[in-house]
Amino acid sequence: MSRSPGFSRCMPAGAGTSCRKSLVRLKPGIPISDVQHDKLIKESVKHSEGSRMTAPQPQTGSRTGRRRGRRAESEAIISVQGIRKTFGDVTALKNIDLTVSKGTVLGLLGPNGAGKTTLVRILTTLLNPDGGQATIAGHDVVRDRTALRRIVGLAGQYAAVDENLTGRENLRMVGRLYHLERKQARRRADELLDRFGLLKAADRLVKTYSGGMRRRLDLAASLVVSPEVLFLDEPTTGLDPRSRTDLWDVINELVAEGTTLLLTTQYLEEADYLADKIAVIDHGKIIAQGTADELKRQIGGDVLELHVGDRARTDAAIEAIADLNVGEPHADATSGCITLTVTNGAQVLTQTIRALDAIDMPIADIALRRPSLDEVFLALTGHETAEQPAEEEE
């Protein structure tokens, strides 16, 4: 199958391409056994900087191992049951049930106002739920707030860093507020600055940082004490594509090290790339859960995409395809791209080619692909991922 520029015009904005899919498979896979992980967690707090507390780094990891291996053998670290929240008349969350296994990434996917932020704020103790129960590593989000705050990290929608401090000062301050000794806080700040590529800018005021640098610093701040569970609320919203991929790389490294991550996003591409499992949230309800592939399967089959050589005769092509009785073809008026959702892709592909040949229609491009998450979302919710009127914030 060819891949002409015309093909990509068929894709919804932000939808995946096969290049991106191969990236998913290339995610660094460094499995950490749960026994080792538990041991790390149980290590009680010592003011000493223990090299023995360093996470073991296996030399190799199978590239696909991280997803499959870890999920199979690990238990739930985030468990949410029937969480509800209303703000005045607006119901932000209705009976949310969710579990996240240790060491995995859950992508909470939904449009603005779907309730993503509200859920993250509840799970990070910033907000009390109206009902239901949620625990993180066994700590109740309402009753065990203090214990919980010591094991979770949060990086919010806007980079919560002090503009009038330098990057280094910001991280030291957070370290001190996590109750690290001065020396330890200092060392940790330096490590993180190095890790996040901010060493050069470390002594510059944050107000001179670019958006991407701020996000990285914010993320670094949420990692000062190596949290067991990390919450990232729309970590790349508003970033340029380059900064976004940079941040994705960093997030992938963290996950490879065994951090459990709950990530909210409105970008399907991001959830597809970073998450092991995706929960689709809409109007305060989880409407679908599963791996990206499972979700894609839910709308049934593949998508056939076709560009005809003779745009003037697009209608004739559609008619010919419709006559095959394998599904209803749609044509995009601007791109001239014809799409068709099919269950037995390979067969339909040959049939289509034959049918078009029969009416002497040249084919500029034809391809069979998995549906994008945009299409999944549309199929699940009946509306596009456009902004919703519901308010998340009080």
């Binding site: 401090l165 996590y178 690290l180």
Partner: protein
Amino acid sequence: MTETELSRPSVKPADTSSIRQSLRWTISDIFVMTQRNLMRYIRLPQLLAFSTIQPVMFLLLFTYVFGGAINVSNMSYIDYLLPGILIQTVLFGSIQTGVGLAEDLSHGMVDRFRSLPMARSAVLAGRTLSDTVRNAFVVLLLAGVGYLIGFRPDNGLLPAIAALLLVVLLGLAFSWISATIGLTVRDAETAQVASQIWIFPLIFASSAFVPTETMPAALRTFTMINPVTFAADAVRALLQGGDVGASLPGTLAWIGGLLLVFVPFAVRRYRHSL
């Protein structure tokens, strides 16, 4: 990235289970927050410059523009005026407490702090404390400028120190009112305006700048209960010698009362500022 770069020590926060440890870290948290807030003035020196120029200007304008026309008994006008200017300065300075908190709220800093295992009280305590430090600095500076243009405390050093302390303490009490406002309106500019509108009349309808004898009866009644009047009279008496019997207990009562009401009020607002 190499393996070494990836490896990171599993840093865990300190244990705060014992009361001693928890007290130690609470004090540390307040210190860290105070330091952070004061850094702002080091990083934005112009902010400190302008917030000092204004009261100095007030001092000079009042002394040289109104000074000649205003007659106060038993002291020079600068000696009468300076306590008033000091009080005005700390009251206006206290507005910054609410502004700063509103800024932190709207920029997500409060969310960050709230998600940390730090002492809950530290954000508010650090903010009011840093504003008190700044107020103390400006008060000392004003006293110095006042001295240059003829202000003379005639009652000895200790009462003078007590007078300045009283002014700073009054500022702290007002900082908590301002904190409550800032946490309620949650917007820096609104916090600024919402405090100015009542601080202005409070300062002018008092004995801060002129004796109250010539004011209309209704206004005079108000000045008699106004904390600014109590404080101005007490500070004047401490600096120049005089009876503090009525004004000092009144001032302390106001300070205590304001703290008693607005500290819990602000803390409540902070807890619920979601």
